[in-house]
Symmetry: C2
Subunit: 110 residues, 2 copies
DNA sequence: ATCGTGTATCGTCGATTAGCGATGATGTTG
DNA sequence: CAACATCATCGCTAATCGACGATACACGAT
């Protein structure tokens, strides 16, 4: 019984989410995609954040690996958009780490 | 004038918070301290997480640098406790990055 | 087929990180 | 005083990271 600690598996999942946002450029990209809910091309994001194209592509890959953003090929340009599930499920993770009891214990929507 | 992007300063502050929780051991420590709202000694935390004492001390330093946890010397043992401000202010950061409009624009409690 | 555009990937650099044992600093207790 | 307990700090290693330019790939248009 006495589970004094968050189980390692959940801790690792949450840590991977936080690590995906552990860089200011990725925070800007995520916030940009989250506010503008429509898909954006890499070129648009590059123009917005002002770092090199290869670097932005790298950051988008990291954000996509944890499924914060979703990729959708559109002809030549690839489009990235925020994963709507994360809009609620990521702040919930922050709540859990801060000791807030999670409302529905059955879920893992992401 | 159309600020399409979260300003770099805020992005860096949020990224530093997320980076502090970008490790599963630190997630466990933070969640442990957040649930048990009372101060804990390093030895107690070491016993709970099961990694080396020097490693736990290192993680606590990282958590203290962003003021997620507060230090309080108590005789021989040093006591660590969660920063109560972060209980609300960190989930709020997660909301902001996920595009939620921040309620009170006057802020920065941490 | 050839060009041009838009992205992803590669290779590399310097910097940072998690982890550990060993050592050092500081305060408590006999 | 001397022994002890508690914790921080010091190397050290292996791994990861952010950033960039250069290159490769995929596709629409000519």
């Amino acid at each position: 019984m006495s589970e004094v600690l968050l189980d390692r598996e959940a801790a690792q999942r949450y840590a991977s989410w936080f690590r995906a946002l552990a860089d200011p450029t990725r925070v800007q990209i995520a916030e940009l995609l989250a506010r503008r809910r429509e898909p954006m091309s890499v070129g648009q994001i590059v123009a917005a954040v002002g770092t090199a194209q290869s670097t932005v592509s790298h950051h988008l890959k990291i954000l996509a690996e944890v499924r914060f953003v979703l990729v959708e090929p559109d002809g030549n340009a690839n489009l990235y958009r925020i994963n709507e599930n994360c809009l609620t499920c990521f702040p919930t993770a922050a709540d859990v780490v801060m000791g807030r009891p999670v409302a529905a214990p059955g879920e893992v929507p992401c």
